[in-house]
């Protein structure tokens, strides 16, 4: 666990600000971008708390997969993106990325300056990571194997259900077109 007040307070301020921004931004695309930042800061919290595995899963699923899903649904559905949105996005995205990267570089440099021993944890870190993965494997495949199998079954049912919903919808459309003829 990394016990660094600078990282904690900075990440806390950022995560709260971006969470509020994701709710109260007028444009849905801005909400989505802010929520990506929130999810990445959540992964940072997990990492700081010593759970590297959860941090990777959080960053992979909520940082990449979920925003892609939401972005696709905005494209196909609700987000009425007009020219103004596209124009604003063209400078909003680089600005956001720049601030994000600069803030991280600043935080890391400040941490090295103020608490030099914070990142000097290579020896204990490897042992801790190995222990964490072993604990995860034992928990998933021995202690919580029924819960694991139930979640897998649920995922399979979701995929099959989505396919059936899609099939039903297409059949309904075809029937309605046939009725019109």
């Amino acid at each position: 666990m990394i016990d660094n007040p600078i990282i904690f307070y900075s990440a806390s301020i950022f995560i709260i600000l971006f969470a509020l921004l994701s709710l109260f931004a007028k444009n849905v695309v801005y909400s989505l971008l802010s929520s990506i930042v929130v999810f990445f800061f959540g992964a940072l919290f997990f990492y700081v708390l010593g759970s590297e595995y959860n941090a990777i899963i959080q960053a992979a699923i909520y940082g990449f997969a979920v925003p892609i899903l939401i972005g696709l649904s905005i494209m196909f559905g609700g987000g009425k993106s007009n020219n103004r949105t596209k124009r604003t996005l063209s400078w909003y995205l680089p600005l956001f990325a720049g601030i994000f990267i600069l803030a991280f570089i600043y935080l890391i440099l400040m941490s090295f300056v103020i608490v030099p021993d914070t990142f000097n944890i290579s020896g204990s870190f490897q042992v801790n990571a190995f222990d964490t993965i072993r604990t995860f494997a034992r928990a998933l495949f021995v202690d919580y194997v029924w819960a694991f199998e139930l979640v897998s079954l649920l995922l399979t049912i979701v995929i099959a259900g989505l396919g059936m919903l899609r099939g039903t919808k297409h059949r309904g459309l075809r029937n309605s077109r046939g009725g019109e003829k």
């Binding site: 995560i15 509020l20 709710l23 595995y53 987000g79 998933l140």
Partner: protein
Amino acid sequence: MEITMYHYLFIGLLLFLIGLLGSTLVKNVIKVLISIEIMLLGVNINFITFAAFCDNINFEGYIISLFYVGLGAVELAVALYLFYLMYQKKESDCIERFNEL
């Protein structure tokens, strides 16, 4: 200044409250879904905080958090598909218009 367990719990609580506020006040369906995910993130932070500070043997909070991430992604996928279907019917993303199946 030392960072204690209560600092992390407070951040989790704040995120949960922000998500709760958003899911009750905001009218846009996409924003409501994002709010629910933020609530889940707050809950996950609490689980991992308890696992890191109170449970040094089994790390059960980490495992529960993993299940939450999986279920949250599934819930979001289903909700987005339903939203897509409803949007095709209603031509609107306001949650107040989605009052019938």
